[in-house]
């Protein structure tokens, strides 16, 4: 890998986070490089969602540092943080579409204040249509989220996460609970976005097929720390049974 000659776009150092007595992260480290697809795997409840929420500033870690493009996000002011957030796409585990708004309004929402940050911005309508087209759901533009199936909601949420053309994208379980065909479509979409814009992605998933196709590198999060790190081939053939267990289908 091309680690040595690059500075990471995202770096977590020694992150600790507890909720009361529940110590979730106990010194987690991570580096994400430009153009890379980094997969995080870990058991349910191991703190993967907590970790990505720390990265976008939704949860304050107890200690440790998080830098994005060299800026420390923990000490950053609100304005700077809001600006930085426009460069980060975030796909929530539960889609988190605004259920009082139509699909169109959902997609327009991030554009309200941040159109100027898109390089080749034409019009709001054009951006919305392009984003929806890319997930194949242009026909749902005037529907409410409650009128869509779970998989369609996930795809609309993906379109919303991508509408500001972010440089870093975080996917929290993008394919969980989807049928294999839709899951595969989402995986292909993630790959094509990565190719087209050379984005860096952090992908949380349990889906071994997804991991195999998409990952450049994998980190296993076990007991709040980096338990193991490597490529798909390295980890799935690891001598450690606990590591191998993650890759059994």
């Amino acid at each position: 890998m091309k680690k040595e000659n690059q500075t990471p776009v995202l770096e977590l150092k020694d992150i600790h986070k507890s909720f009361g007595e529940n110590h979730v992260l106990k010194g987690f480290n991570l580096q994400l490089f430009k153009g890379e697809n980094l997969v995080i795997m870990g058991k349910s409840g191991s703190g993967k969602s907590v970790m990505v929420k720390c990265i976008v500033g939704l949860i304050q870690p107890d200690s440790g540092s998080i830098t994005i493009n060299g800026h420390d996000i923990i000490t950053m002011g609100q304005r700077e943080l809001d600006f930085l957030r426009t460069q980060i796409g975030f796909l929530f585990q539960g889609s988190a579409l605004y259920d009082s708004m139509t699909v169109r309004e959902n997609l327009e929402f991030p554009l309200r204040r941040h159109k100027d940050k898109i390089e080749d911005f034409k019009s709001t309508e054009q951006s919305v249509q392009d984003a929806l087209k890319s997930v194949g759901l242009l026909h749902t533009i005037d529907l409410m989220p409650s009128e869509l199936s779970g998989g369609m909601q996930r795809r609309v949420a993906l379109a919303r996460a991508l509408i500001l053309k972010p440089k870093i994208i975080m996917y929290d379980e993008p394919t969980t609970g989807l049928d294999p065909i839709t899951a595969n479509e989402i995986i292909q979409l993630m790959r094509s976005i990565q190719k087209e814009y050379n984005t860096s992605s952090l992908i949380i998933t349990h889906d071994v097929d997804c991991v195999r196709v998409i990952s450049n590198r994998i980190i296993l999060l076990v007991d709040g720390i980096n338990y193991a790190e490597g490529t798909y081939d390295e980890l799935s053939n690891s001598s450690d049974p606990q590591t191998r267990a993650f890759f059994k289908n």
């Binding site: 600006f83 991030p110 204040r113």
Partner: protein
């Protein structure tokens, strides 16, 4: 969690919550005056709250006027003071009954709505999604809603009071042969500035209380659908309680200023 039932912990929790709510209110005022301003959302909320509650408020007000007049009439007639009906009714409605009843109705309708809406947005991570997309959810959701109730409640109360007086006038007209012109002439004679102003100012505080409690409960909703129900429920309970406390203070203060 297990100790929650002991009296001391509950009292502590109660005061901690009051402290939290005060901080929440402080944040409201700070964010209220710092740009960017969410005018469109404010207008939308005002429209939603105003229009959607108007019918309910008018019906309640009308029945209030009817019933109140029907109930008081016999007593005043026995005392030979039937001609005082318009003044008595209008003063009681405008100064006290109208604002309190209509604010309570709105606490039930608007306050619980805000609590449930923000609560479910919190639970389904929509508030987090807003924050991540670079929009300040406190400004977009909380500030606009508190402001909207604060602005709309006085208008709703005025509408409700007016309809209540009409209801009362109908009864007077049917039972007491008082013409509508005479009735309203008497009403306007009876009402003075010192009745209307404190009552209206009071409703501004009522509106603020309903908005504050509703948004606070919803915004800080705990996880799960149980949390949403609880947020909406306690929004109504706490704001109704707060309404009476504010009412008491308001009566106390206006008593000092206007020496009635």
């Amino acid at each position: 969690m297990k100790k929650e039932n002991s009296l001391i912990t509950r009292t502590k929790l109660f005061f901690a919550e009051i402290g939290d709510m005060t901080l929440f209110a402080g944040r409201f005022f700070r964010e209220l005056f710092s740009p960017p301003f969410e005018f469109r959302e404010l207008i939308r909320q005002c429209y939603n709250m105003g229009i959607r509650s108007l019918f309910l408020v008018m019906v309640t007000g009308f029945i209030l006027g009817l019933v109140f007049t029907l109930q008081s009439r016999p007593t005043l007639t026995d005392l030979g003071a039937a001609s005082w009906m318009p003044s008595m009714i209008s003063i009681s409605i405008v100064r006290e009954i109208g604002p309190v009843i209509i604010a309570l109705i709105c606490a039930g309708r608007i306050g619980s709505g805000i609590g449930a809406e923000l609560g479910s947005m919190r639970v389904t991570e929509q508030i987090d999604a807003m924050e991540v997309s670079g929009t300040n959810p406190f400004k977009y959701l909380v500030v606009t809603r508190i402001l909207a109730v604060t602005l709309m409640l006085p208008l709703l109360v005025i509408a409700g009071d007016t309809v209540a007086l009409f209801g009362s006038a109908i009864i007077e007209n049917l039972k007491g042969d008082v013409s509508y012109t005479l009735y309203f002439n008497k009403v306007f004679d009876a009402l003075s500035f010192s009745d209307v102003l404190p009552a209206t100012v009071k409703t501004v505080f009522f509106g603020f209380a309903i908005g504050l409690v509703g948004t606070y409960k919803g915004y800080n909703c705990s996880k799960g659908t149980v949390g949403v129900g609880e947020a909406s429920n306690s929004a109504v309970v706490y704001s109704s309680m707060l309404l009476f406390i504010i009412d008491f203070i308001a009566v106390f203060v206006s008593d000092i200023f206007f020496e009635v």
